[in-house]
Amino acid sequence: MTKNNDDALVRHGSNALAVRESREEFITPAADIFETPIAFVLRLDLPGAARDGIQVNVEAERLSIKGRLEKLHAEKTNVLYHEIAGKSYYRMFNLTAGIASDRIEAEFQDGVLSVTIPKSERMTTKEIRIQ
């Protein structure tokens, strides 16, 4: 493993993987990141996001997620109290080396977006049994 890859993994292990980009019009959604032996799993809270408006993009070792909120209130509604902020979601993550970016899968359920990022073959953890 080269020095560079090593650094990438160290960064990955810390919270530095998550790059928060501050753009006022966007909400930065809360995220969980898990590492399994074969993949990284990213889960983002996108409550009320319009299913057809969710975009997951991979470009130059960066994973970006965009979403827009479904309209919360009908017309002719007088909003008395307002805590649910913003109209769109946006968050970006740095991808570490050793990811199979062509096999990334995403799923949206109960207002949570799950993105599974498989590790490339050489980065997976395998146990080798002694014969």
Binding site: H12, G13, N15, L17, A18, A30, A31, D32, I33, F34, E35, T36, P37, F40, V41, R43, D45, L46, P47, G48, A49, R51, E70, L72, H73, A74, K76, T77, N78, V79, L80, Y81, H82, E83, I84, A85, F108, D110, G111, V112, T125
Partner: protein, 139 residues
Amino acid sequence: MIVHFPQMSPVFDLDRTANEFFSNLSRRTHPVSDLPAVDVAEREHSYDLVVELPGMKKEDIRISVEKGTLVVRAERKQYGFPEGTKVLLHETNTRPFERVFQLPDAVDVNGISAEMKDGILRIQLPKTELARPREIKVQ
């Protein structure tokens, strides 16, 4: 003789209705940031209470009317992962919470309904007959 119509006052005083709804909005049993965000809106025949509850299913949520308040309790289930999983980042909130809303008199508590979709809980609180706007025609 003076006749009192206590039930009717909210109809004549919208601001008061709003205040009734929000005063003592919540017993903050946890720090503010732990509580899910809420919107309250008023429509012609109902109030709408919208709560952000990502990752929750309707089975995880309990809604009840207690002593003139509406109480929403919920707990988000932890994800199940295979053995050997490492948590690299954990920002989502999985602690149980409770949020209490003071109900205005103008709500028909027997007609309250709720639905859950894509992490958004929407509770509809119909107004009582007396609180609904009505046009009275001049004969």
